[in-house]
Symmetry: D2
Subunit: 462 residues, 4 copies
């Protein structure tokens, strides 16, 4: 998971990029960067940490120019290294280029071996550098032609925002795995913005124009906006953006995330009702679906678990056993509220089951008489190759167990998931609007190409 942002033709391009990244901070908290373009120079600030800590007034003042792009990162490919912080930059035949990438390539390893065999040297271990290497090896005079040629070699998920040739470029892969939306500053018709989610527009008073289309290369610069489409393939937007990645105040491909989650909760109540006393969410991502469940079921809704939002980078666990400690740092039940109650607890997903297990125990300790876990997405059976950090199949509890077995494993009285059909209906899927559901259906649009491991020197920066 990552978030990207870009802005063209605004005197405060870096400041607005910083604000845009702030709104996208939920998409990645490990590192952030902004690259601005002023005349013939790119200026970059890239650091580990949160957006609001990195971008001091002094640093922002060193990012001049009316064109800028930004990136927030939650490590997926490459490691957690300074050299991998995006936007990635390099210098090639046409000068410096900067690129911010959300998504994962499935053939990056293979392309890297081919490129190295052809004499390429790599400065990072991010798959994004492969895109720059491919771009550098094209000598077409036009950036669009070069990009098309380079991207024709690449397979996988990529929503890109780039600075090249003094232009802002936005690209979305042919399947449209990751979101990318185009907007414009209100009252400034020539000032364009692109972002992973519309919530970034709200903060800076921009308005949504439309989504970048799957397979679209959009170049904003000079005196024109130029859109080029690569041959279309089946649309496969990630449905988990709606389930829990995106902010509920965003809309993705013109679907309101909030509404989608309300519908997931309502549908879940229809599919898996419970004779219970109260509905509570696992905050924050489960709140809206839990409200939908409560609406539909007629059960009262309570904030039975309180979330501490101050969880930071470093945490030292006490050595002697405090039960379900990791979850306690974030969540605490309201004492007395659930005593003797039959509780429906709504979560967005179950991955390994360890967190659910701790929550169930926590609720049991808080006096709940029955605990029924309701999940607003189908069981996850397989990994994601397109940009989400899921564990191996073996660690996915739903790949090995039935819902009843999971209930037993996590100590709940029952567990039920929203059906795939119910989920698709909740996001209004239909006709052209098909989603990637690979992680629960196993139908992968693109398979990953792994290379046999090479015995070679690796590099670690301290």
């Amino acid at each position: 998971m990552c978030g990207v942002f870009g802005i063209f033709n605004h005197p405060e391009a870096a400041n607005l990029s910083y604000l845009g990244l702030h709104a996208l901070q939920h998409r990645g908290q490990e590192s952030a960067g902004v690259v601005s373009c002023d005349k013939d120079t790119l200026h970059a600030v890239r650091k580990m940490g949160l957006v609001s800590d990195i971008f001091t007034e002094r640093r922002l003042a060193r990012l001049p120019g009316k064109l800028a792009i930004g990136h927030v990162r939650y490590t997926t490919s490459g490691g957690s290294l300074p050299k991998n912080i995006q936007p990635l930059t390099a210098e090639y035949r046409e000068g410096a280029v900067a690129i911010a990438h959300n998504g994962n390539l499935v053939n990056a390893e293979q392309l890297r071996v081919e490129l190295e065999a052809d004499g390429a040297i790599f400065a990072s271990n991010s798959d994004t550098e492969v895109i720059i290497q491919l771009l550098a090896r094209r000598n077409d005079p036009d950036i669009v032609t070069r990009l098309r040629s380079a991207l024709s070699r690449v397979r996988g998920a990529y929503s890109l925002v780039m600075i090249a040739d003094g232009k802002l470029i936005a690209v979305r892969d042919p399947h449209g795995f990751r979101p990318l939306v185009l907007g414009r500053m209100k009252g400034q018709p020539d000032t364009y913005v692109v972002a992973s989610e519309t919530c970034a527009f709200d903060l800076i008073a921009a308005e949504r124009i439309r989504d970048i289309e799957p397979g679209e290369i959009l170049v904003i610069g000079g005196d024109e906006i130029r859109s080029v489409m690569v041959p279309r393939v089946a649309r496969r937007a990630c449905i988990f953006e709606h389930v829990y990645f995106a902010r509920p105040d965003s809309s993705l491909d013109d679907v309101s995330v909030y509404n989608a989650r309300i519908k997931m909760g309502r549908q879940l109540a229809l599919e898996s009702p419970v004779d219970a006393d109260v509905v509570i969410p696992v905050p924050d991502s489960g709140v809206v679906a839990a409200m939908g469940y409560a609406h539909q079921s007629g059960l009262p809704f309570e904030m039975g678990l309180i979330r501490n939002h101050y969880v930071g980078r470093t945490f030292i666990e006490p050595k002697d056993s405090i039960r379900h400690f990791g979850v306690k740092l974030k969540l605490n039940p309201v004492p007395g509220l659930l005593t003797g109650k039959r509780v429906v607890v709504v979560d967005d997903s179950i991955v390994r089951g360890t967190t659910s297990n701790k929550i169930v125990k926590m609720l049991r300790d808080a006096g709940a008489a029955e605990i029924h876990v309701r999940v607003s997405s189908p069981p996850i059976n397989g990994p994601c190759f397109y940009g989400i950090d899921t564990p191996n199949r073996d660690e996915l509890v739903a790949s090995r167990k039935s819902p009843d077995e999971v209930a037993k494993a996590i100590g709940a009285d029952s567990v039920a998931h929203l059906s795939a059909e119910g989920l698709l209906a909740s996001v209004g899927a239909g006709g052209d609007e098909t989603y990637c559901t690979a992680c629960f259906t196993g139908e992968y649009p693109l398979r990953i190409t792994r290379q046999p491991p090479r015995r070679q020197l690796r590099l670690v920066e301290v």
Copy 2:
């Protein structure tokens, strides 16, 4: 507002203090500190910033001993200076002493002048240092006698946690303005903890024993626990702890904050009903009361405003006018959700009115047809002298305007507040359980003693 914590007789005293402070982080985000006591040495870590950033594994490892106290600070008295970070320490006749203080003294200035006239020098400008100075001037052999004598000079709000003579000491002022609660580690009957709120106990698997009583000096150490009471005066716990300071999963003086807020919302719906379509909270502090309002009124509850929890230290505003920018960093309406709706928005208080004004405009922009602001506390007419950072009377919008005038000023269709009686009923006040309501009734239990300003050199650390 500040939070305090203390623990006696645990091999991981500093680690548990750090966790306790983490649970109390909402009470102060400016700075934090832990002082541990190992044999004849106090060890201190005190820094600006958040608990989870300050207490790295390396720093915690330098805090040995089985006795520790901690403090999180939101500046009230003194300035935002390193030298004022608590726990405050000093060396006096009996060796080093450490003290963590929640609350404000009303006669600190006067005492400081007297102490200086008697030859005292001050290292901080915190009112807490006055307490240490008074303590140092007593030569009674016993710490309890010394403390009683020293505190007999002091008036105001003070919930104190101290290390002196190798003992853990907890003190609450005779009015009991600020909360302070005593607990014990589960399964470890000789390991005591004290904290501002019970939520700190939940995280470390401690259980509440009882509140420290107003006027109580509790000394834990040696082989005994010793409790001494100063002559009792009328109890005056701050009712705003229930309204918005405390976490909803805490209980204060044995009253559940969550329940109290639900009742406030219900009572508010009874007192000030609206013919509306939807109830939304101003998150996070307004959520529970809004749920109570929705329950009572039968109106649907929606999370119409989404809160971004990543707001950090440094924020650069864009220069060209983005409307109601400050609030936008934290809150964003869900697009489409409120269009054409008559909206009840529940907030916990209105102080200056500027934030309410921005929220109303934000909701209006989001398409709300009517906006009715309902506030789960009475209008604030005066400042707090006991530890809460309220502005001058002139800046308090309710001290100058009627609710209708406030509604007009902030652009709402109506504004209504919970009555003082309704609020007191919601927290179950009655008999002995009287609260401080000075900021809305003007009945101050203790008046502040101000000194005429002295023309003297002040000190600023860069």
Copy 3:
């Protein structure tokens, strides 16, 4: 050892203090601080580290005002703690006061016990705080009277530069142990400066007026300069300032350090001649005396040991034995230069003998045929109580051994010291100009008053 600086009536007071401290950096590299006074506010920057690292342009810009004092510190009393970094500040009856102190008090412990018995609390463990406490306990209206009263209680070495009542105050103890000199900016007759050494004046284009007299309290401020003398006692300036503390381009009490060292070397050659081939110094402090020795003896002078000036804070020794490693970081013999030569190596002093031992071995490894150590000061037999960090008597090699035994211990062919008479003659001592020679004569002008250790809580800041 420490260095102090002060300036009155200059628009760039903090900048010039910073430059003055830069010139005095050799007197202390552990920490540095500047306090400026602007109208009714003192502004302080105090940090661990070197002057040029601490005082960034940004920090200096936060030190407004035309009056400033500064301090560089090499730990002597108190520990290496942030709270002990000078100038020390405190607030007392008359407002904030700042004080920079070079020297050690001999009755600080006793005074501290008395003050604590009288109710004083201490924020540091520096003996300088005792002076502020005493000052605060006087209620005379006039700063000079207060200072005289306070200082009448204090015994020991103190060259002080203070800001109090908006004035610059310079004080030197009655014995004049540590240097302190008064100057004036060239062409700006109303702009006064004080510093530990005249080299600080050279850098900022100030000119020396005269030394602050032993026992003098000089107050510069308002419209006047006021000098008050306490009853005079025997002058006892530290002779080791001439031997190695002071920079050779300084003059102390109107004696040129460079000339004094040349004379020491010449006298040493007269007293302890050697039949040798070459004279080399232990750089940097031995260079000038070695030149004097070479001049007088007619032997050639060579820079046989090269010094690396980049020695920083952190040094990791290799685990396997590298001979005389510590000294090697600083000194390396010129290969070939000394092969087969009879070498006179001139050093300023021998303390424990360990460094001399390593140097002798290093020279032996470099091929020297004979090594004759000549020391430009008498053998050190006892500790210094007045501000110099000498080890206990037991560790002083000269207190236990004769020169011949020392020669044997350090592996030299011979060792000889300059006589006390020779040293006194070299600095032109005579008549009133008597020096403190306690560390080699054992005649201590003031004995230290130690308190029995108290079993009490101490404080350590991490």
Copy 4:
């Protein structure tokens, strides 16, 4: 100017690299780095700052392995950017490679254009990356063959220390512009070291074996040491290493720098005698030559200028004019020493003349009656293309003026330079031992190939 270091087969490889860099710190103070090799992983620490500040115990502990290289940098090519800190690393077909480079390539720009035209992307703007790119484009199985092929394209000055294929590689360009010497740990015959200067060996108790030959590629690893020579061209070692870059305790190509400087001073006294009273050096680099001048002339030698070694990174000049301020931070005359004297001041070179001008004024202010500047190298007429940061020809005072005109310009009574023949004789040049004297003779062994500037995006990291 830079310094390089490498060590093979030592359990404390990183620690010894750090010590080696400490001894080479005079060759570059801007940044430093160490890369160690442990099994199949390179570990890197690279930072701006001084060696002793960068390499904390914690960082060194993260550099495991028995093979390591290091670099200290004084910016010459590329800019002062984090991405240019060496050792440079990249990953290519054969895995990670690390390279530390002293010297400048003269055809780097041209090669970069060619490489970019062929699809290369650049992560730094250091000319060293060109070498890695060339290496990556060779697919010979053997590292030596690859290196020979790659280096055959490169022209200029390069003393390289590399890690590739788990081996330590040392390379010196065919002219041998920059020094590079091979050694071995004493008593550990299989533990090899390479360094820019022998002083690095002294610190770690290594002994010099021989210089790396111009045109030699030496590979240490596996079970063998393999040396390959490229066709030899005329040897052109930089003579300024002897004049002022190298430490006087180093020997270069088996010539003692100390002896060379003594001879330069003696020869200078023979060529340009003066009827004067005293000889003083400009410390530190002029000290040894000044001693030679004094020996030869019979004039007394004095340390008339005292150097402050604490000059750090940040310096704020006072706004009102203090004469010759920049030089004053470093140098101060000993008051009184030169009054009325005819002074010979010996410096190693005159570049722009501005520093000399300030020194002459400073000596004049100190009372010197006559000032005769004697320079231990010929007038510099042209820039260096091989790794030394000299200004443009226009700024070189000697390229525009005769010695008499220079004397007038800088305010001296006379100026004289050592002759080229005298300099060459001083370093024992003769036969094969020819030196590069391009900067004063204009006879450049290799001309720089500049590319016309390209209008392209550049990158700046903040």
